[in-house]
Amino acid sequence: MDQVNVNQPLDYKKKNNLKKAPSIWRDAFHRFLKNKYAILGLVILTFMFLFSFVGPYFSPYLDAKIDVSKGNQPPSAEHWLGTDNLGRDVLLRLMLAGRISLTIGIAATLIIVLIGGMLGSIAGYYGGWLDVIIMRLADIIYAMPGLPILIMLGAIMSDLKIPPPQRIYYVMFILGFISWVGLARLIRSQILSLKEQEFMLATEVLGLRDSKKIIKHLFPNVLPTVIVSATLGVAGAILSESALSFLGLGVIPPTPSWGYMLSAANNMIDFAKRPWLWIPPGVAIMLTVVAINFIGDALRDAFDPRQKI
């Protein structure tokens, strides 16, 4: 029989004091793996990443010079997806564009998580006037139409003559700036309800520092929400970037993105006669976004089996 020695204080730091309870993470992981769509999504997404980041090294055209005489060829054995008007291999461009689109999608989401997570937790945890100000700002941004603002900011980038490589960073920040509201509201409401629970009272009694309370006790409880939101956010960011670049206001040449490649369809002849220029990037966007949505949806089910949308 265990005897508790009252004179000896409990050692909180010693990990083996308590038998580890089956964590919600392991549970969620098992549920996730049982989801067929999730596995399909993972497979597709892994493929898209390998295709974009490793694929170009297998292309014989990586160092090819622009050769207009080979321009606008339909798909063939040498050029699986044909060539564009400058004689560049469309398959290779599709891979390189994938790097940009995937990177922007992920980076924009990280910015959303950073801004939304921080503002949401501050508003929820501290309340008071900070809460009022942050949530007012969220209301304001929520009321503004996303696409027009995105387009306007894209047009301003063009006016400021921002060089193409830097535009990529601006696009990430713009996407982050206009889409953090949803996550901030979600995190705020979760923290508001978590704050009222007993384990938070316990941290109060133990006299923990604010930073420790937030990072060690609140944050792990909010993390599932953040992960699900962020996953689905990557899909949204990729779609927004593609729309902006399709209009010629996002990423511009020489660095292509999938959206920019699709803008080939703005040319009537390319649109009607050379579908190999714009159908592959569209399919690439669709596959990537479907895969991410599969994964995000499965994660939501895995973390919270009750809530099924």
Binding site: R136, A243, I285
Partner: protein, 321 residues
């Protein structure tokens, strides 16, 4: 209730002012104005440019420009569109109704199809229909609208020639009466189909989730136990309750009736407000863009209030305070 509405309206004033300031600042960030974009014109001298700037009030400091713009907006004066050379209010009025026709048709089909798919998926959960519908729904809401639009245009207009390539009426025709309606409808098919397909996915998921939630409730079991027909149980007892949360969704969608779909309208060359505003941005017609953005912002805020009110009306369990 009246008190609630009044308070919500008053509360939305600071939001509106905040939004207008941010939107105005974004536009003020732009280095070029309409006058600069016209400087390539050889007839445009520096003097003339300065004159034009003074005329449009572009030479004043920022806060002053904001106040004069905002007081104009309050009087219903959104300035002059530089693309159309007439008041923005009139330009919006000229084109918004074309978007409205498209929007109403899309909303009708979206809700019709989504409700059928959603309800049927819910009452036959995990059936073959449900599995296929779920997969299709995922694919549909993962498609960029412009890509689906382009594919539709390529297949049904360019290759099969079933539908016109774009626009609202056949060029050079002057049909009247019934023939005009048929002509416009033909032009509507592809844009409506594109936007309906894109939006039907998410909505049918909501229908499904809400129905599944309601079907589990005790009162549904009671209804079945009373020996009611399954049809009555589903449509009278379950559906009505499942529709409650969808009222909010429906109301929040109302502004989109007037907003138009910028990219899709452009692809199908539909003369709606979205296409016009998008074309305006390429020649830096900021007054038009600014007016349009503000209009949508106001509509969004109003729709939010309406959503709360309607939800309170429909569900007596919710008390509006």
């Amino acid at each position: 209730m009246t008190q609630f509405i009044i308070r919500r309206l008053l509360q939305s004033i600071p939001t509106l002012i905040g939004a207008s300031i941010i939107i105005f600042l974004i536009f003020a960030m732009a280095p070029g104005d309409y006058v600069t974009s016209q400087l390539q014109n050889p007839k445009m001298t520096e003097e003339r440019a300065a004159q034009l700037r003074a005329l449009y009030g572009l030479d004043k400091p920022l806060p002053q420009r904001y106040i004069s713009w905002a007081s104009g907006v309050l009087k219903g004066d959104l300035g002059d569109s530089l693309l159309f050379k007439k008041p923005v209010v009139r330009v919006i009025n000229d084109f918004i109704w074309n978007s409205f026709i498209l929007g109403v048709a899309i909303m009708f089909f979206e809700w019709l199809i989504a409700s059928i798919i959603g309800i049927y998926s819910a009452i036959r959960q995990y059936s073959v229909f449900d599995t296929i519908a779920t997969l299709l729904v995922f694919i549909l809401y993962s498609l960029p609208s412009f890509f689906l639009g382009l594919v539709m245009l390529k297949v049904f207009a360019v290759d099969l020639k079933w539908f016109p390539l774009g626009g609202m009426i056949t060029t050079g025709s002057n049909y009247t009466g019934w023939a005009h309606i048929v002509d416009v409808s033909k032009h509507m098919v592809l844009p409506v189909a594109t936007l309906t397909l894109i939006s039907v996915g998410g909505l049918s998921r909501y229908f499904r989730a809400n129905m599944l939630e309601v079907i589990k409730q005790d009162y549904i079991r009671t209804a079945r136990a009373k020996g009611l027909k399954e049809r009555t149980v589903i449509f009278k007892h379950a559906l009505r309750n499942a529709l409650l949360p969808l009222i909010t969704l429906f109301t929040l969608e109302l502004p989109s009736l007037f907003a138009g779909a910028m990219i899709t309208e452009r692809i199908f060359n539909w003369p709606g407000i979205g296409k016009v505003v998008l074309e305006g941005i390429y020649i830096r017609d900021y007054p038009l863009f600014l007016g349009y953005t503000m209009l949508i912002t106001v509509l969004t805020i109003l729709a939010n209030i309406l959503a709360d009110v309607l939800y309170g009306v429909a569900d007596p369990r919710v008390r509006l305070k």
